[in-house]
Structure formats: structure tokens, C-alpha cells
């Protein structure tokens, strides 16, 4: 077995919850026992890390993923030695450089040049070493024309770049990175990634804390998933990330379900919009995708917020969104199937009815709408209870949150039951293309244009789809 670069054993970290009252108790126990929290009652403390153990072999790239507040940064600080674990031990072999906050030690009043020297010394370099690397640092940060100006005149991007340049030029054996790739422009981000790749080639250990799961999958040899301070999974990055993503989806699912339930409840409580008998002239043409209810309020139905209205002669009792596994859900994957089912109840037999459906993006823009009338089906009869399904074999939407309208109404638009944006679902996608709609497509290239797929171990390069701007 190869040498361990980081060896964390049963690391727990307990923080004191903020309270003024016990200030003296904290101080006393700190002085007498060397521990801030030993004398505190459990309700006055917060467990940021709970018995976390893991090893990182030298030369490996290790990713830590987890939600906000899961203890990732605390773990990183324990490894860096900035804070000590309450119990347990962390041993690190070799020189550490922590990219936790870039340029943390910069003094705004003095020049970039002087700050490089002081920052370098803080990170453990000697003056001679910094002199030798000075030009590299300035080149890397791309700050040659400004290096003698006081740091306070720098833009935040320049500041971060200089901080990053110093930290990576310390030539650490173990590099700790806490979500710093978000700094700088596209070009600088690539430079940073190239620098990490170089570290890897030179057999250095990298510990990466990030929310960029794609980066973990492509770049890390091993990954750890922290959840509420505990280790949830460790091992192959793809599997760890998958497990993590699945759980995030589950909790999003619960969140969306709760949100929808609340919206429906509100819609029920709201006084019914008066349903005048006046027949509408909408819904006869395809311009109005879903037949507009004949009500006196929504002049422009696309401006109306969530709600429910209608005579309820035919009632939509239940709406389910069903994924490929056949169970109702709120989170779906682009390209997979999605079926929307409406359970219906007719008070009395009806002959005049149209089922309609509309898809909206998060901003409320209608991106698709249709109904059975538009699609040239004419109603015959419906009595008792029944079910309608709207089947999409290939969910051609990009990643994002969408809202759904469902309705049953008369041909002239008189609403039986209209559910306005009461259902929310989320679409996930591995490809981070932009817009709403993904037409089925493929690329072709003439032989003179050569491209390769970027999914090998070293295939972690600029201009991945992941780098595309996000909405």
C-alpha cells in the first residue's frame, strides 16, 4: 500500500452555539481543560463533524461533496490545521497549501509585489524561494502591469488571481482546494485546472471540496460524501456522485411535493372566480394554446398566477407525473419518458368536454400548450370517473424547473375545472445545454474536422459542456 498523505481518524468537531450568557464558562473551560465545549450542555453545541474517518493516498486526487453545511469546509480546516478537531486526529504528511480563501493575508495598502512576498512567507516559503518564483507568480496571475500598485486598487478578480498564483506556487505536497475555481474568468479557470492537472502529473495530492459534481467525476480518483457531518459514502467518484445526486433529487422531490400541496391548498381557499355564462371566443384558434376560462378576471391568461377555477361539473381529482419507473415523481431526466395522468370525476354525464395542458417555465412563460380540440378530437361522452394520460416518450426539455396547467372545459372555453400552475416539476440533465427545448439532434462533421469525446481520465479540459453559461 502506498504512503498516506492524509489520515483522518474519527474526527469530530463540536462548535459552540452562539450565546452571550455562557461566555465565562467557555473561557474557563478553555483555560482549565483546553477545550471550548467540554463544559457545555448538548443543546449549546453544534456537531459539525461526527466521527469522520478517511485516508488519502499520496498522489491521489480526492473529492469531497455534500450540501451546504454538511461539514466539508470544517473538514478542510481540520486538515489544514486552522482548527483542531474536538476529538480524533488528522495527520498530514508533507507541505500543505490551502486554497480556502484566496489572498486572505493581503494588506490593501501595500503593493502587489510586497504582498506576494509576505503571503509567500506566510505560506512557508523563504525570501529566496519567492524571488525565484516571483516571475512565475506574476505571469500566472497575469498582473505584470499592476504588480507595483497597492492591492486595494485591484479588482476582486485580480485579487483572487494573485492569491491563487501565490498559493499554487508554494509547491505543496498536499493541495487543499475549497471551491475556488469559481474565481476569475473562463480563461483563468482553465489555467487553474491546467495547474491542477500538472500537480497530478507530478504526483501531488489534491483534496477538492466542490459543488461542481462534473469536476469530481472527471477529475478525482476517489470521492467522499459528507452529510450532516457524517460520511455517507466513499469510493469511486462516479458512484459517490450518483448516490449524492439521487439523494438531492429525493429531497428536491419532497420539497416540490410540499410546495405543490401548498399551492393547491391556497387555490382551494381562494374565493372562486365567478364563472359567467358568457361564452368566450378564445380557444377556437391555436394561438391560445389552452382554452381560456370564461371568467371576468384574466384578460390575458398568461399573466394569471397559480389558481383553480371552474364549475366542477367535471372535476380533476388528481394529477400525477410519472417517470419511466412507473411511480409518481417531481424530478425527471431529460430524454426519459414522462406521463401526465389526470384522474377525473363527472357529476353528471357530459357530452361537451376538452382536455388541455400547458407547460410553463419558471418565469411563467408558456413553452407548450395543447388540448384535445386543437388536436382534432371531438368529445362524445364522459360519465362517472375516468383517467386521461398525456404521454411524452422523450422529455425534450433542458434542465430547469417547469410548471404545469391542466384543464377540462367546454369547447367554447367554459371551464369545468382549471388548474393553473399548481404542479411543479424539475428536469435534470447531464448535458448543460441552454434554453427550454431540446430538439432531437445529432452532429455531423466532415472528415477534415476531428473531435474526440471528453470522457477519458485525462479528458478534463477546457470547453466542456459543463463550462457553458448557466441560466
Amino acid at each position: 500500500m502506498s504512503r498516506l498523505a492524509i489520515h483522518a481518524q474519527h474526527v469530530s468537531k463540536i462548535y459552540r452555539r452562539f450565546a452571550h450568557k455562557r461566555q465565562f464558562a467557555t473561557l474557563k473551560s478553555a483555560i482549565l481543560t483546553g477545550s471550548l465545549v467540554r463544559d457545555l450542555r448538548p443543546e449549546e453545541t453544534f456537531r459539525a463533524l461526527d466521527d469522520v474517518s478517511f485516508d488519502v493516498e499520496a498522489g491521489r486526487t480526492y473529492g469531497i461533496v455534500g450540501r451546504n453545511g454538511s461539514g466539508k469546509s470544517t473538514m478542510l480546516k481540520c486538515i489544514a490545521g486552522i482548527t483542531k478537531p474536538t476529538t480524533g486526529t488528522v495527520t498530514v504528511s508533507g507541505r500543505i497549501s490551502a486554497l480556502i480563501e484566496l489572498g486572505a493575508g493581503f494588506h490593501p495598502e501595500i503593493s502587489g509585489r510586497e504582498n506576494v512576498f509576505i503571503n509567500g512567507i506566510m505560506l512557508g516559503l523563504s525570501k529566496a524561494e519567492i524571488e525565484r518564483r516571483f516571475d512565475d507568480i506574476v505571469d500566472f496571475a497575469d498582473l505584470a502591469p499592476f504588480i507595483d500598485a497597492p492591492v486595494k486598487t485591484y479588482s476582486s478578480g485580480m485579487y483572487m488571481r494573485l492569491g491563487f498564483a501565490v498559493a499554487v506556487n508554494v509547491d505543496p505536497d498536499v493541495l487543499l482546494v475549497d471551491e475556488v475555481l469559481a474565481v476569475g474568468d473562463e480563461g483563468f479557470a482553465h489555467k487553474c485546472l491546467d495547474k491542477f492537472a500538472e500537480f497530478r502529473r507530478r504526483g501531488k495530492t489534491i483534496l477538492l471540496v466542490t459543488h461542481s459534481l462534473g469536476l469530481v467525476e472527471r477529475f478525482c480518483d476517489e470521492a467522499l460524501w459528507l452529510d450532516k457531518g457524517r460520511v455517507r459514502a466513499v469510493g469511486d467518484p462516479k458512484r459517490v456522485v450518483d448516490a449524492y445526486v439521487t439523494e438531492v433529487e429525493e429531497s428536491e422531490e419532497a420539497h416540490l411535493a410540499a410546495q405543490d400541496a401548498r399551492a393547491r391548498e391556497l387555490a382551494e381557499q381562494r374565493p372562486q372566480v365567478s364563472v359567467s355564462a358568457a361564452p368566450g371566443d378564445a380557444a377556437r384558434d391555436g394561438g391560445q394554446a389552452v382554452a381560456a376560462p370564461v371568467v371576468d378576471v384574466p384578460a390575458d391568461m398568461f399573466q394569471v398566477g397559480a389558481g383553480r377555477w371552474g364549475s366542477r361539473d367535471v372535476e380533476i381529482t388528481r394529477v400525477d407525473l410519472i417517470g419511466p419507473d412507473g411511480t409518481p415523481s417531481h424530478v425527471f431526466h431529460a430524454g426519459e419518458s414522462l406521463t401526465i395522468t389526470l384522474a377525473l370525476e363527472a357529476r353528471a354525464p357530459v357530452k361537451d368536454f376538452v382536455f388541455g395542458l400547458g407547460l410553463f417555465n419558471a418565469d411563467g412563460v408558456c413553452i407548450y400548450g395543447t388540448n384535445t380540440n386543437i388536436e382534432e378530437m371531438s368529445s362524445q361522452e364522459f360519465s362517472g370517473s375516468g383517467e386521461v394520460g398525456f404521454v411524452m416518450d422523450d422529455l425534450a426539455l433542458t434542465e430547469g424547473t417547469y410548471k404545469l396547467d391542466v384543464a377540462v372545459h367546454k369547447l367554447d372555453g367554459f371551464p369545468y375545472d382549471y388548474h393553473r400552475q399548481l404542479y411543479t416539476f424539475r428536469v435534470k440533465s447531464r448535458v448543460k445545454d441552454v434554453g427550454f427545448f431540446r430538439p432531437k439532434h445529432s452532429w455531423t462533421f466532415s472528415p477534415s474536422i476531428r473531435l474526440t469525446r471528453l470522457d477519458g481520465p485525462e479528458g478534463w479540459r477546457p470547453h466542456m459542456p459543463d463550462d457553458a453559461p448557466r441560466r
Binding site: 483546553g34 486552522i82 500543505i96 490551502a98 480563501e101 486572505a104 493575508g105 495598502e109 509576505i118
Partner: protein, 265 residues
Amino acid sequence: MLHNLRQLFRHRALIQSLVTRELKARYRGSVLGFFWSFINPLLLLAVYSFVFTVVLPGTHPREIEPYALFLFCGILPWTWFSSSLTEAANSLMAGGNLIKKVLFPAEILPIVAVLANMMHFFFGLPILVLFLLYFRPTITFVEMLWFPVVVAVQLLLTMGLALILAALTVHFRDIKDLLSNLLTLWFFATPIIYPMHIALPGISKSVLNANPFTHLAVSYQEILFYDGPLGHWRWLLALAGASALLFLFGYFLFDRLRDSFAEEV
């Protein structure tokens, strides 16, 4: 603790560059720049001279002449002492970024505060030398040998207090506000604007003797202002011993509370 003290020695390059940075940064952007190190003590001296010769004449004994020189002997080291403590008390909060985000030995921050102010003290010395050359050309070399000893004792005392204050202020921010008033009181309870040997109606000799800065001020005055050998050396050496103990205690306390800084700052 001993291990940490040795570590501290290893960090001397860092301390040195931080002190330099402090000095460079302080007057950056001002017109007179570095000259403020000389002008500041002169202005302070001018203010006190004005107060005690124009506003309140006759409050100091006749034989203390030139009074400005006498004042200067006490005010210059006092400025070092009081601004060191004020800055040190705030140093961990001001350097919170370093403590929370970088692996950084926290004791360096109060120590840098003390050393940077010591440098300002040194920059004020040429003014003092000019005064001496003008008023007291008879000063002897042997007497001057005591001067670095007094400076060393003051450094030790100040560092000890600085470490304690820095560590406690993290837990009790109240200290910052209390300290500035306490230092004003301390200033007037020290024979700086008045000589040690005059009888003060409100304050007894033993109170003055219990005040550590008394012995520093009196030593400075005996070396620089009065003729004759340093009569105060026994007190000075006793203070040196006490200061060394205080420094060790301060370092111990600081070391004990070290782990709390990253969380409490």
C-alpha cells in the same frame, strides 16, 4: 508551549516582514509619509508642553527644567506602551481573516503590534537625541549603556500584557473599550508629567511603586534627564524578572486559548 515558543523563533522572517508591512502601510497615502514617525512625538510633546507651561503653569516643580525634555523621556516610551496594548487587544479581530482562513500562528499578531510600535519609538529617538545634544551635552556613555536594558524590559512587559489582552479580548470585546480609559488613568498614575520624588497629595508612593511602568519611566528619566548614575537599577531588575514571568504566563494563557480564536474571532 516550549515547542510553540521555538516555533515562534522560526517565524522571525514572517514577523519581520509583517512589521515592515505595518510600517509601510501606516503612512501610505499621507503627504509627509514616513516623517510622521518623527512629527507625531514632536506634536504630542508640543501639546503637553503647551498644557503644562501655558494653560497650567507652575504645576511642575521648578527644578524640572527643561520640562519639555523631562516630558519627552516619559511620553515617548509611554506612547509605545499604550499604542502597543491598544493595537494588540484588537489584533486578533483585525487579523481574523488570517486566523480563520490561513494556517497562521496567532501570537504573531499581537507581537507584530508591539514590535511595530517599538519601531516607531526608535524613529522618535533621533528627536530625543537632538534634544539631549542641545540641553544636556554632559550625558555620559556609561549611563547610556542602561538604555537598551530598559528598552528590553519594557519590550518584555509589553509583550506579556499584549498576549493576555489579545487572547482575552477575543472572548470579551468589552476589554477594547475599557482599555483605552484604563490607559488614560494609568498614564496619569505614572510619574511621566510629574517627577517621582514630589509628594502627591492624592497618591501614595507605594501605589506608584506597584505600577510597573513607574520603574520604566523613572529609569528613562534617570538615564536621560538627571545627572549621575542610575539609582533605580534594583527596581528595574526586579521588574525585569516580573516581566519575564508575566510574559511566560501571558504566553501560556494565549496558548491555552489558541484553539478558540478561529471560532470566536
